[in-house]
């Protein structure tokens, strides 16, 4: 992604918005659909075919599920209780088959394109362990933009229709819009049909508050991305790509830099996208809620990439936990183990599935599997030690909700998340292990003062800018945590305040943004997933 592409995107949003306002309200959703496909075709070319396959298959399977259900509803009044039960079993089987087809097609495309080479590589290595030659061929596969996001949206839709949460969409155009709304195409947030589609097809008139909120949110996103994230990336890249050359002190600072980079990159891009949607009067789902104020890693994942966690909760964790094999496991555990372990074992098994899925969703690599399992391990340890922790806190009479322990918990969570970030960014799992060990074996605080830290692409001036940027973000986050949303207040408040904030953000981006001849363009991280 080049810096010019941000300007193109800004221009694209406003061009589409102007056309949107010209068209009669009733037909405005057509503009969004056309914009989504234009955006996608420009960026993806012929790979748009995959999006079309997903849209068409999801549409027809959803409609068929609706027909099965309607048929059952029409007949059930005339049937006896036993006949109704029999027919329901048949209808449920048919509906499940439709869900199966939709999931097989859509998840199949994603799994094949994203994981085939990873799987083939492992199979070939396994094959050769036994002295055989050859193996599975490596294919040149290109991943269509946003496939990991729109596939989850389509599966969520089809499962909800199956569950009877809402009726299937009768207009293929409206379903296509749900799966191709352009602000969501690159990095989410992962939308839900019943929350998003009514807003998309409604047709919004110009609203000053929405327009101002959208512009300020976009500028805030650009500020995070261009002023903070891209600067932090330079040092993080230097150290992670050549960690053997640096001391543990430098590695700790690089991990902090990467954590800042990833958060400001991902949340910044989500702000840009949410802001561009807000201009049209459309509110996208919240994806971040001050994650670094979390008191546990479980809470962190309820505040970080919220729509992914929510998706896994509703479409993996709950159905897996309530499935008959897991209910059987639960009953067996109740017979054989104490109350504590009887409830822990099935939960742990379901969590394992969720975290393996979350890890793999990020990419086809051992490090992402390790990343998922790392959080699974932490959450499991938390559950295992909870009874002991309760006893200890009761004995020493320390209030777990008090300020002191809350502060300690926040710092502990940041450290644990930092370790997770190191695993996420390291090129390989073993790189992470070596970097982690170097943090304890090669500490050299002198590196902070002898210019080593400032010679890795992010100089003293950059550090100062990052520091100021992080302090501003911290103030905004603290106020939001206390229920005061500065950005919305600015957008809907008095004109002088609104313009001060807007001009302040524009000047910051123009003067402090990491672009120009001395800087390279930095791709957004979550767009590659």
């Amino acid at each position: 992604m080049t810096y010019a592409s941000y300007l193109y995107f800004f221009a694209f949003v406003f061009l589409v918005y102007m056309i949107y306002l010209i068209i009669p309200v009733k037909y405005r959703w057509f503009v969004l659909l056309a914009a989504g496909y234009t955006f996608y075709i420009v960026l993806n070319g012929f790979l748009t075919a995959f999006l079309l396959v997903t849209t068409v298959s999801t549409y027809f399977c959803g409609k068929q599920i609706g027909k099965f259900q309607e048929g059952f509803n029409a007949k059930k009044k005339e049937l006896s209780k036993e006949e109704k039960k029999q027919l329901k079993a048949v209808v449920t089987k048919n509906k499940k088959a439709m869900v199966g087809i939709a999931v097989l097609i859509n998840l199949g495309i994603l799994v094949f394109l994203k994981y085939y080479n990873f799987f083939a590589g492992h199979m070939t290595r396994f094959w050769r362990l036994f002295g055989f030659s050859g193996g599975m061929p490596v294919l040149k596969l290109i991943l269509p933009l946003g496939i990991s996001y729109y596939t989850l949206q389509s599966i969520g839709y089809i499962v909800d229709v199956y569950r009877g949460k809402y009726k299937p969409e009768q207009s293929i155009g409206k379903l296509a819009l749900f799966l191709s709304f352009f602000p969501q195409m690159t990095e989410g947030p992962i939308g839900r049909y019943n929350e998003l589609t009514p807003q998309l097809v409604e047709g919004h008139k110009y609203n000053n508050a929405d327009f101002s909120s959208g512009v300020i949110l976009m500028l805030w996103g650009f500020f995070k991305k261009l002023v903070i994230s891209d600067r932090a990336s330079f040092m993080a890249n230097s150290v992670f790509n050549d960690y053997q050359s640096y001391s543990g002190t430098v590695i700790v600072i690089a991990v902090a830099m990467y954590t800042i980079q990833l958060y400001t990159d991902f949340s910044g891009c989500i702000d840009i996208m949410s802001g561009s949607a807000r201009i049209f009067g459309i509110k996208l789902s919240e994806n971040f809620r001050q994650p670094f104020f979390s008191k546990s890693v479980a809470e962190f994942w309820r505040r970080w990439h919220i729509t992914l966690g929510g998706w896994f909760k509703d479409y993996v964790f709950y159905p897996v936990s309530l499935s008959s094999p897991f209910m059987k496991l639960s009953k067996t555990a109740q017979k054989r183990f104490s109350k504590f372990f009887a409830s822990l074992i099935p939960s742990a098994a379901a969590l394992f599935v969720v975290w393996m899925g979350t890890g793999l969703w990020h990419g086809a690599s051992n490090k992402y599997i390790a990343y998922g399992l790392y959080y699974f391990g932490l959450i499991l340890l938390g559950m295992l030690f909870e009874p002991i922790a309760v006893k200890i806190f009761n004995k020493i009479k320390l209030d777990r909700k008090g300020k002191l322990w809350s502060g300690v918990s926040i710092v502990r969570t940041i450290i644990l998340v930092g370790i997770g970030m190191m695993m996420f960014r390291a090129n390989y799992v073993m790189d992470f292990v070596h970097m982690f060990l170097r943090m304890f074996t090669t500490q050299n605080p002198a590196d902070i003062f002898n210019n080593t830290v400032f010679s890795l692409g992010t100089d003293k001036h950059d550090f100062l800018v990052i520091f100021i940027g992080v302090v501003i973000m911290l103030i905004v986050a603290i106020l939001k945590e206390k229920g005061r949303d500065v950005l919305t207040t600015a957008a809907t408040g008095r004109i002088p305040l609104k313009w001060t904030i807007m001009i302040g953000l524009i000047l910051s981006i123009a003067v402090l943004g990491a672009y120009g001849p001395d800087y390279g363009a930095v791709d957004t991280i979550y767009a590659q997933f």
Binding site: A298, Y318, M327, K331, S343
Partner: protein
């Protein structure tokens, strides 16, 4: 209702479930405790709770959970 209150206190000891009216917002119940709760409810009340029932509105208080069980019994 008494059976439900007993199950709730088994899943989350030390909480007065007769007084709490927003178990989700207050962080008392999370997805893990909801699953533990639902497993016990399905077992003791012999009802089928589906993923569709697992929405925050059904787990706001002991009363809303009780209503969900009654709906499942119907």
């Amino acid at each position: 209702m008494e059976d439900l209150l007993r199950i709730l206190s088994e899943v989350k000891p030390g909480v007065d479930f007769t007084k709490e009216d927003d178990l989700i917002e207050s962080g008392i119940l999370d997805s893990l405790s909801i699953i533990q709760l639902v497993t016990k409810i399905s077992d003791e009340f012999d009802v089928e709770i589906t993923p569709l029932d697992l929405v925050p509105e059904n787990f706001k208080s002991a009363e809303t959970i009780y209503e969900m069980i009654q709906n499942a019994e119907d």
